[in-house]
């Protein structure tokens, strides 16, 4: 296991086309880090640079105390899990998991011991003789993870490994991943565009936007104190309401709005969409005229709402302020 550091890492394909604009971060040994961002933000590129599948244009990536910029993937002591699993279709599950070990010349007793141990953890023992095509999506995903585990690497790299699974399986695999990390304690980098995955898995996360790390921190800390309007709008569902006020932007989470008497109203929402979810009710609407900011509120399930005016208030402590031009947080 090892720490990973990014030191002003940059990537450009041509001088004009820069995709990563300098990311710096120290990842502690054994930490589970999620890289979160919308598609095209450079999160996968960043991960692939750690893996050695993309070259680093400028800056340094270190695993442990070795700078790995110019090392081949196999010499970096990493293991990667791909989005589409990338299992070798013509090999059995056992061969898929042991292929890397065989290349490294481990003894066959050592190989079968490691594979069997991983198969035990992942409940794959029954399937060791099968071909990947005879497995379900979740099982294939587990084989891909098994292939990573048997290598006993310094760092696990996950490139959106859950996005090909259906919703239920995703929740289950998320829990398994968490359990796995607790058990193995290996430093992990996990790329995703799904904020729920990020919030639930991450010890710390990097929110990326257009090749920049917008904010780095623990999930709840980022949720509670988003550094920019991008982070505020990207994390949380529905996202934070951003309302122009006095030349600045007032940010308030939908769950921090509560219905009140018209006389106490701090905001009046012109409700045009109501989504009862059972546990709570999501209410959407405008404040003021049609062109003004759109606002969402999360109300308790027993709230009486109907289309039309809805008076809401909020506690001043729950308000965030952002600079309108730069989008940066104002404290």
């Amino acid at each position: 296991m090892a720490a990973v550091s990014f030191r002003d890492v940059r990537k450009s394909y041509t001088p004009e086309l820069q995709v990563i604009h300098g990311v710096s971060m120290e990842i502690k040994d054994g930490e589970f880090i999620v890289i979160l961002g919308p598609s095209g933000c450079g999160k996968s590129t960043l991960l692939r640079m750690v893996a050695g599948l993309e070259t680093v244009t400028a800056g340094e990536i270190a695993i442990g105390d070795r700078v790995v910029n110019n090392l081949e993937p196999k010499d970096r002591d990493i293991a990667m899990v791909f989005q589409n699993y990338a299992l070798y279709p013509h090999m059995s599950v056992f061969d898929n998991m042991s292929y890397g070990l065989r290349i490294r010349g481990l003894s066959s007793s050592e190989i079968s011991e490691r594979v069997n141990r991983a198969a035990e953890i992942l409940e794959l023992k029954k399937f060791l003789d099968r071909r990947p095509r005879a497995l379900s999506g979740g099982q294939r995903q587990r084989v891909a993870m098994g292939r990573a585990i048997v290598r006993e690497p310094q760092v696990f790299l996950f490139d959106e490994p859950l996005s090909n699974l259906d919703a239920k399986l995703r929740v289950q695999m998320r829990a398994e991943l968490q359990a796995l990390h607790r058990r193995l304690g290996t430093t992990s980098l996990f790329v995703t565009h799904d904020q729920v995955e990020a919030m639930t898995l991450a010890q710390r996360m990097i929110v990326m936007n257009a090749g920049r790390a917008e904010q780095i921190g623990a999930p709840l800390e980022i949720y509670a104190r988003p550094a920019t309007t991008f982070v505020a709008g990207f994390i949380g569902s529905p996202p934070m309401n951003l309302i122009p006020r006095d030349g600045k932007l007032l940010g308030i989470r939908p769950e921090h709005l509560e219905p009140c008497a018209a006389s106490d109203a701090m905001l009046t929402i012109d409700v045009d969409l109501i989504e009862p979810l059972g546990a709570d009710i999501l209410v959407y609407g405008h404040i003021g005229d049609r062109d003004s900011a759109r606002v969402a509120a999360r109300l308790p399930a027993d709230a009486k709402v109907q289309a039309g005016k809805l008076a809401v208030r909020y506690a001043p402590g729950n308000v965030h302020w952002f600079d309108q031009a730069s989008g940066r947080r104002i404290d």
């Binding site: 893996a51 599948l53 993937p73 293991a79 299992l87 279709p89 013509h90 890397g100 290349i103 292939r147």
Partner: protein, 282 residues
Amino acid sequence: MVENRPWLNFLAHAVLIAGVLAVAFPLYVTFVASTLSFKEIMQVPMPLLPGSHLVENYSQVLSGGTTTGSKAAVSHMLVNSLVMALAIPLGKITISIIASFAIVYFRFPLRMFFFWMIFVTLMLPVEVRIIPTLQVITDLKMNNTYAGLTIPLIASATATFLFRQFFMTVPDELAEAARVDGAGPMRFFWDVLMPLSKTTMAALFVIQFIYGWNQYLWPLLVATDESMYTTVIGIKRMIVGSDAANEWNLIMATAILAMLPPALVVVLMQKWFVKGLVETEK
């Protein structure tokens, strides 16, 4: 289409049977002719039931060819044909798979130029470049050798193109996973790409085996010595002079012998052949 009209069924079968007869009748006549004596075959009309000279005719051609035309033994020709029909597909597959591997998985200067060079030769059949090719082979003193017979036919744009198309459907992540696993390019080629290409190779083998077996023009030019005749050339050399002078019974026996191996390859490899052409599973 699901339809149940008796006369349509009848029509469909009639067409199919007529088709089968049209294809099978010449083959049948060839077979019958190969079992007759020279005298019987010269009758008009020729008998349409098999005669009693099957063993005699076949052992004659296998050991000594015809008595009036070429006297080269067909058994030796079959060996020559087999060498040619095996060397061409195996050579083609070997060269093409390596070439496409280079084109698809490596970035080197002029990569696309080389690809298009290969592609352009698709448009030039053997016949177009046969004179210069013959000149080269003659200069290299490769006339009447197996090398001269096969090497000029081995380079293949079609096979290279086919493998390239197949490699492009293999997900990039597979190559990346192999890289992370520590497999170098050749190891990836050998352990992952080759096994995945098995069905494509089988399909190519069948097509190219028949292509190699049926070569006519090129062996006609290069194989001038009796010992290098292929079966197809052998048939040509057996036909001498006027119609009545040819021992058609023996020529037909040779024709049957020439037809059997390709048919056998197709029948035996049919399953793989079809799989290679339609398989999409990756």
